[in-house]
């Protein structure tokens, strides 16, 4: 086994894993708090990517494009909670109905992007990509931005959740929504806040990813898949688990190439997910529910 290859695959796994971790946390905070299987989260990713591309096309720089992507993401997430999920919950709609609604929003939204922007891929050329070398590892400046942004956003979120009043309320609602309501927490506002935070992270992930890979109408589906696979792998209910799940998934996808051809990458990834769920249905760090 070549050490150079091991180092390179390890670096690649950590880069990809960092972005997966952010995706996982973005979906996890919404699911853990609201128990909504937010399938339309992928649409937030797609919209953020296209908003950034559109702003750049209008001549906006990096900061303005990022701002538009983040603002659009938050608005979209909050509106979906307010106008789609909340009315359904009030009517005691089943989880399946809510999931189907979310899926409908996702499919319709993607089709609208396709109709509006066409099927062409649209790059976001706001940052010069420089190749960097560290020992036998090669990566780019955009890879570094993605890693730094992901970890910075996750650390800030952790601080918000543990040090702020609103963060404590989110954790309270996630832990026991009935009890939280009983002690006077407005769960509706907390749900909106969870959607805003999750969508913010999703928008951020979309922006840094689009700096490297062009936006296409169906780009959100892959991000969505990774976001909830990461959560189920790491453990439902635990944001640290989502981070761990993301890193594990990224590393697994990359390191598997040491022993198997590339065509087995997805097979091994999903086989491991399957095994984890069989052995520990609650995920790596998830708590058993009664």
């Amino acid at each position: 086994m070549q050490l150079d290859l091991v180092a390179q695959l390890l670096a690649r796994g950590l880069i990809t894993g960092s972005v997966y971790a952010m995706l996982g946390v973005s979906w996890g905070i919404i699911y853990n708090t609201t128990r909504t299987f937010h399938f339309a989260h992928g649409l937030v990713y797609g919209m953020a990517a296209y908003l950034a591309v559109s702003m750049a096309a209008l001549g906006a720089g990096l900061f303005l494009s990022l701002l538009a992507a983040l603002a659009g993401s938050v608005l979209m997430g909050v509106l979906m909670e307010q106008w789609a999920y909340r009315p359904m919950r009030r009517k005691n709609a089943s989880q399946l109905s809510i999931f189907l609604t979310a899926m409908g929003i996702m499919v319709a939204g993607q089709s609208l992007i396709h109709l509006f922007y066409g099927p062409d891929s649209r790059p976001l050329k706001l940052m010069h990509e420089k190749v960097l070398t560290l020992g036998s590892m090669t990566f780019t400046s955009i890879d570094l931005v993605a890693v730094f942004t992901s970890w910075a956003a996750m650390i800030l979120l952790a601080l918000f959740l543990t040090r702020s009043k609103a963060g404590t309320m989110i954790r309270a609602v996630a832990s026991n929504p009935e009890k939280a309501t009983f002690i006077g927490i407005n769960t509706h506002r907390i749900f909106l806040l969870a959607f805003a935070l999750g969508s913010f992270l999703m928008g951020l992930a979309a922006f840094v990813s689009t700096l490297e890979m062009p936006a296409t109408p169906y780009v959100g589906i892959q991000a969505l898949l990774m976001s909830f696979i990461t959560v189920f792998l790491g453990g439902v209910g635990s944001l640290v688990g989502a981070v761990l799940g993301g890193l594990a998934l990224g590393l697994l996808e990359s390191m598997v190439l040491l022993v198997l051809p590339a065509q087995f990458k997805l097979v091994v990834t999903f086989a491991v997910l399957f095994l984890v769920i069989i052995v520990r249905p609650q995920g790596i760090l998830g708590e058993k529910t009664s």
């Binding site: 390179q8 891929s121 070398t133 051809p261």
Partner: protein, 376 residues
């Protein structure tokens, strides 16, 4: 009374003069199952553009009382189920006797039903060698087994000896990889790594790391659509300098690669947009007028295919047959398998479902394909 007679006579004359316009032409429906969405949507769009120009030109006069009507359906860049659904829709609802298809897997997936229902299928885009010798299927695109050797021979002659390959898990890339590996080994070369990837994947950094570790002289990428661009970008990002060759270049690839595609080599049939052939000139001018870019060979192939269909409809109608019969259209091919070609001269259909066209080796320079070597 006299005035009324004059008025009536005038109206009758007008009616006679306008008669042909009033007489409704019969509709000749044909299908196009193309990649309208997904990573290969660029191909579908350019093919559709080529078809539309041909239809507009043909419908100005009509063909033996028939007007062409095209029904476009999407196989989502290579998926077989949407292609089969599209085929069923076209044959059951639109009653299309002929279909223009693209991509190998979708084309192969509709062929059993096409043979059974005697629907004529033309492929001007897919390149899998598996498309040979299938009744009712005619390929006007050069297939992989004909174009890959051109590139590999060129690189072998340049002194390269080891090759790593990467290809999508689709029919054409898989079979082209088999052809390429066999050909390279036959030349005496060594294949140091073969990696297959998911179609539509965008992150090839890990695969590129494996290629980097194997240190090949050249890299053969037999994927299609934007996948090629993502592979090139990932490979170059790691600083790998080995030449990359393939069989595909989509016009939007550079949106993904940026300058990383410089030097990418690919062989394909040669559609000369600067040809002096009057028909080619007129098509190129019309395409440029409508879309502000010159047509590529995919647009040319599908434009040409609509004209081949026109000739077939004419032949069948002339014999008093029914152009809505796929079997009649198929039979009409063999009345004279030579058709006027948009490439200049004639295209001749072979019994094994292939045809012959000039193959050219291209390389990317300043973001555009330029001719490196004409093969035949």
């Amino acid at each position: 009374m006299k005035r009324l007679s004059v008025l009536l006579a005038g109206l009758m004359t007008l009616a006679l003069l306008a008669g042909p316009a009033w007489a409704k032409d019969k509709e000749f429906p044909f299908g196009a199952i193309l990649a309208m969405t997904g990573s290969g949507s660029w191909y579908g769009l350019t093919m559709e553009k080529g078809c539309k120009i041909a239809i507009d030109e043909i419908n100005k006069k009509g063909v033996a009382g028939w007007k062409f009507k095209m029904y476009v359906e999407d196989h989502k860049s290579g998926l077989t189920t949407p292609a089969q659904n599209a085929f069923r829709k076209m044959t059951s609802i639109y009653k299309t006797p002929a279909i223009l298809s693209s991509f190998s897997a979708p084309t192969l997936s509709i062929m059993p039903a096409a043979r059974q229902q005697k629907v004529l299928v033309f492929n001007g885009g897919a390149s899998s060698p598996k498309l040979i010798n299938i009744p009712f299927l005619h390929n006007t695109r050069m297939l992989g087994n004909e174009i890959v050797p051109a590139t590999l021979q060129y690189l072998w002659d340049k002194g390269y000896r080891t090759m790593a390959t990467i290809y999508a898990n689709q029919t054409a890339p898989i079979s082209i990889n088999e052809t390429a590996v066999k050909y390279w080994q036959k030349l005496g070369g060594k294949v140091v790594s073969q990696q297959m990837h998911e179609t539509g994947a965008t992150d090839f950094a890990s695969e590129a790391s494996v290629i980097q570790a194997k240190k090949p002289d050249i890299i053969g990428c037999w994927s299609t659509g934007l996948d090629v661009g993502y592979v090139i970008k990932a490979v170059r990002k790691l600083g790998i300098k080995a030449p990359i060759c393939g069989t595909e270049h989509s016009g939007d690839m550079e949106k993904v690669t940026g300058p990383a595609s410089e030097g990418y080599l690919f062989a394909s049939e040669f559609f000369d947009i600067n040809s002096s052939d009057p028909w080619t000139k007129s098509f190129v001018a019309e395409f440029k007028k409508r879309h502000n870019v010159a047509p590529d060979f995919y647009a040319a192939n599908y434009y040409e295919l609509v004209y081949i269909l026109k000739d077939l409809v004419e032949r069948v109608a002339k014999k008093g047959g029914n152009p809505l019969s796929g079997a009649a259209l198929e039979a009409a091919i063999w009345d004279n398998p030579r058709f006027k070609s948009i490439y200049g001269g004639y295209i001749e259909f072979r019994k094994n479902g292939t045809c012959s066209k000039p193959v050219v080796l291209f390389t990317i320079k300043n973001g555009k394909p330029v001719i490196l070597k004409k093969q035949s």
